[in-house]
Symmetry: C2
Subunit: 659 residues, 2 copies
């Protein structure tokens, strides 16, 4: 049923009716002034059996009333296309509240408002006001997009890449049905083999993450998150919601098992690959690249390696097998440069797929009339043993023919060296993401019973209780205690202001380092007193090392999250940080180090200390889990956590209680 149908060609209500006519069920059109249409919702409902879906193409002010008529007439699902709701100011918010009230009171499920609809090509169910959707093919990909426009743009781009859809949905404002609900539905949808998720904002973070976790365990989820640059103002005009942190959203989706892509081209390449055979979970799958031309092969290899995927050197046995087929003129260690593909290409592919270090095979070649690549790959039998991706460039007709043949053989075909590399990276990311997800989260230690106010000494007592190393120290209430502490601790000490209300001690002159003598202690205490100190912390200086920052906070969307970064302003400004939601598994914690682009600094760089990832994972988990067991901790930060030759040690600890 279309409410607000139109007979004027091009109008939303007309195009929507035209799209829905393809569905195998009677279509009822409602427009009080439309010739041959029902004059009202109630008249239309009375005209026959129950209505599966009401599509409302009426303006925002008329929507709630029409929706209520549908719901009260027994309709269980509705699509609202109009804009002009919460994104459009006070009047729009009023209309939205009215719609939400109908949903709450009647239980009708609602998609929208402010969306161009959804489509299920395999059932010819096309609830879209973009007529081109009539030609979309059915296939294995479900698109779940924040925006109706992106849903359509992605559907058409997938169509161009020869990939069909099981479902395409644009959520729009998402006042009822949101991304999490659709993802949960897709867990058991047999038509869907891979899910493409586009996000602008996230309303219910935990529900979304739970859905992605459940879904990615059974089928790949590829996620494109908008908002790398500041697009908040425009985004809010679109959805009426604040943009969620791009960095946090990406990190926690990844932790839940999603494959992240940077743009829609990457999304198309990723779903093309993942609609085929999936890699088994693995911490570092090895990929072999077989190329018919060295130059494009170099482009692929360069992009694959830049994405962090390993091209392992093939074994001598594999290379011997290849050498039986190929002349000794080309590189054969991985990548394997076959030269122009010819007879024996299938044997090369087969040998490479059998290499023990190879978990997946990517093949690139220009189309050539002399060799039928999909047939050669099929003959090789490789695709029965490992995932195989075929990358092909050539005249459009040739590529289309090979794509059809590859589809028959069940082998994903991707056009373009870079797209092939992105496809390879997605295949590998799906495997590494699931590897990290496959482990249970580490249960939190019970709260050690400490209470605030959380000055640095109390904060470090908490760390001690959690098993996080801290330096020897003393709380000192007067000069005599401070001098005694210096004597007891020996060597150089740090002398710091002790006050739970001062969060940035350095900025108020509250930190004095390298104090060795009673005279120096006297000068430090003079300065601290002048800065208002009543108590001071005297603490042994730590050995030199590399400084890290570990922090946990409550994200407004996703709840408790944990952050790891390198110390120093450069790392901070370059946003070289790793983020995870809490609770997390040991693997997820250990993986935070791998996220840091400057991680090399932590592994013996220039004679520096070498990190034990498991030891750091223990610290990370302990700090993050604090937020789970104590609701009175809003935030906890260890800055710096110094990595020394004998392990990590927390040099500061800030615990913040809710405001």
């Amino acid at each position: 049923m279309v409410v607000g149908a139109s007979a004027t060609p091009g109008k939303l209500g007309a195009v929507m009716a035209q799209s829905l006519a393809a569905y195998d069920a009677p279509l009822r059109l409602v427009n009080s002034r439309g010739e041959g249409m029902h004059a009202s919702v109630s008249e239309a409902l009375a005209a026959g059996d129950g209505v599966d879906l009401a599509v409302l193409c009426v303006p925002a002010p008329a929507t709630a009333r029409a929706l209520r008529e549908c719901a009260e007439g027994g309709v269980r699902a509705a699509l609202v296309c109009a804009g002009g709701f919460a994104e459009a100011g006070a009047a729009g918010e009023e209309h939205q509240r009215a719609v939400e009230e109908v949903v709450r009171e009647t239980g009708i499920r609602l998609l929208g408002p402010n969306t161009s609809g959804f489509f299920v090509p395999g059932r010819r169910l096309l609830a879209s006001f973009v007529p081109g959707v009539a030609d979309l093919a059915a296939g294995p990909v479900a698109v779940v997009a924040a925006s109706g426009g992106v849903n359509h743009a992605l559907a058409f781009r997938l169509q161009q890449a020869g990939i069909g859809l099981s479902l395409g949905v644009g959520l729009g404002a998402g006042v009822d049905v949101g991304a999490a609900a659709v993802l949960e539905h897709l867990v058991d949808d047999e038509q869907t083999r891979v899910v493409a998720l586009h996000l602008e904002t996230v309303q219910d973070g935990p529900a979304l993450l739970a859905a992605v976790r459940r879904l990615s365990a059974v089928k790949p989820v590829v996620a494109l998150v908008v908002g790398r640059s500041d697009v908040a103002e425009f985004a809010r005009s679109h959805t009426g919601a604040l943009a969620t942190s791009w960095r946090t959203t990406r990190a926690v989706l990844r932790q839940a098992g999603a494959v992240l892509v940077d743009d829609e081209d990457g999304l198309v390449a990723a779903v093309a690959a993942l609609a085929g055979r999936r890699l088994a979970p693995s911490p570092a799958p090895g990929v072999a690249l077989v190329t018919g031309q060295a130059g494009p092969g170099l482009l692929v290899a360069d992009a694959v390696q830049t994405a962090g995927v390993t091209l392992p050197r093939l074994t001598d046995a594999t290379r011997a097998a290849i050498a039986e087929v190929l002349p000794p003129l080309t590189f054969q260690a991985n990548p394997v440069d076959t030269g122009r593909p010819g007879p024996g290409f299938d044997r090369v592919v087969s040998a490479v797929a059998d290499d023990p270090a190879v978990d997946a095979v990517a093949i690139y070649a220009l189309t050539e009339p002399v060799v039928d690549l999909p047939a050669a790959v099929a003959t090789s039998g490789a695709a029965g043993r490992v995932p195989v991706l075929l990358g092909v460039d050539g005249p459009p007709d040739d590529v289309a023919a090979q794509r059809a043949a590859a589809r028959e053989a069940g082998i994903p075909l991707i056009s373009g060296p870079t797209a092939l590399a992105r496809a390879v990276a997605a295949l590998a990311d799906d495997a590494t993401g699931r590897f990290a997800c496959a482990q249970d989260v580490t249960p939190p230690q019970p709260w050690p019973g400490l209470t605030g106010p959380w000055d640095e000494v109390r904060g470090k007592e908490l760390l001690d209780a959690l098993g996080v190393p801290t330096p020897p120290r003393r709380r000192c209430r007067d000069r005599a205690e401070a001098l005694e502490a210096l004597a007891a601790l020996g060597g150089p000490v740090a002398v710091k202001l002790l006050d739970a209300t001062v969060l940035h001690k350095t900025e108020v002159g509250g930190v004095h380092l390298g104090v060795r003598t009673p005279e120096a202690m006297g000068r430090a205490l003079d300065a601290l007193e002048a800065a208002g100190a009543r108590e001071v912390l005297v603490e042994a200086m730590a050995a030199p090392g590399v400084d890290l920052i570990v922090g946990a906070r409550r994200d407004p969307v996703f709840g408790p999250v944990l952050l790891l970064g390198l110390g120093g302003t450069a790392a901070e400004v370059l946003a070289d940080v790793a983020i995870r939601s809490v609770p997390l598994s040991d693997r997820a914690a250990a993986g935070m180090v791998s996220d840091l682009r400057a991680r090399r600094l932590l592994f013996g760089h220039r004679g520096g200390p070498t990190l034990d990832p498991a030891e750091l994972a223990g610290v990370l988990t302990a700090v993050g889990n604090v937020l789970l067991v104590n609701p009175d901790v809003a935030e906890i930060e260890v800055n710096p956590l110094r990595l020394t030759a004998t392990g990590p040690v927390a040099l500061d600890a800030v615990v913040i209680t809710p405001a």
Copy 2:
């Protein structure tokens, strides 16, 4: 003429002959065993008038002899397809030397070896052994690729994007004709409006840069450089040459006016945009985005801004003009969200193009039957005033129809939000690159007549002579002089080992900072003596600030290059550096700061100092130009150059002479 022609379908010599048959000139085939072919080169040459091009499809060992026969018979140009030359070990090197000898002795121009050829679709000149090239359309783009395979892959990808070619050439081993020669040729080639350059290695850096400078002044050059990850071993097997530094190559190409892209998808988007109207040189062009759908518009805006392009807020006058057409439901400040395009779309585009802050207009929309976008854009007249890019997604046939209409109207059409964003970024990069290139280089100061050995004091005397600030200091030969220096300089001083043979003073314990008292000086001198010091430098400690690294060295490929980075290991490991070739203009020097991702640290970050870019440019130019005026300086490094509240000051100076 094809030497090594073949009658066996699929063989190189057969496909090559078939491709060349399309050319409007007699084709002579040579094969001693070929039926109906000439038995020898000399027989073929005797069979008619002169031969324009000899294509050699014979194996490497037979190439030099065949080439000599051609050259001595009057042929002036040859293409050698075979591999098996320098990239294939000792025997191959021998064959290559023989070919080079023929080139040197006869002056014949040679493309290859190890390439699949070249093509000029507009003249039906197709010297390629990939048959699909027969269908390539003539157009404005010249592809100059290191590899024959990449030349073909790019040609087919451009074909798919609806873009034709003026020339496609794969250089292969490039023993005679290299990239620089082809680029120089293209400066005056009227069929070529934009050049796509693919590089794996660079042999003659200065010639390449000179060619790019000349070419980019008259038409855009888009450059794709391979080698972001370590692909050196495979690359060498391909071309026989060492891979050039990816970072340096990209930086100096950019300085010469090229637009850099990261992959071949970016290359296609960039040439699509730049085949249209070019922006005027500008330090920061403003782009307006008009979108028919908010969601895809957000993807475009996000990617455009991430690429560093500004979307300026439209003026009130422009917004008032737009508001006459559009309902007040959508965002209209830039991006302009028109909602589904309808009547009046042309007036929106026109108003946006007239905005004084707008230098180019990008438009995105899904194809809709109700609106003819290319026609609306043409009606707007915007493309006559500023560059206009049209981004369209929809059913493939609709997109193809709109592409054809857009081509008629002279408006580049790009499919996909991300591709449109990349096209916008390329348009802007072409304008900013030319702005930086448009200034003459700063002539070097004459050499101040100093000589080594270059210990730190001598190095700083050089900096003083060049006008680079250094701290007050004294060279001290004994304890009495050091104590006198401490008294004279006052306050804390640095005491350093002075020895031109020690490059890393800190690592040998040669640096003592914060020395305030005669006792501390005594301890420092004890330690330095123990480390082998005979002379020491006593120097006033600089104020705190942000540390930079400035260095100049002689690159084996490009000659003198200058490097600017932030101090600290994190910035180093994250490779946050700017590189330029020397000599450089003030604009090029000032632009180095913009290249640093962490540049925010230099502009009052957390109460820190604020950089005067012109002042830093002076330091950079002075340091870089040292290499131009003194061949006895191999390398000079100022590490750190500290940015303080009162300006930059060089805290160390290392000058290295040739080994």
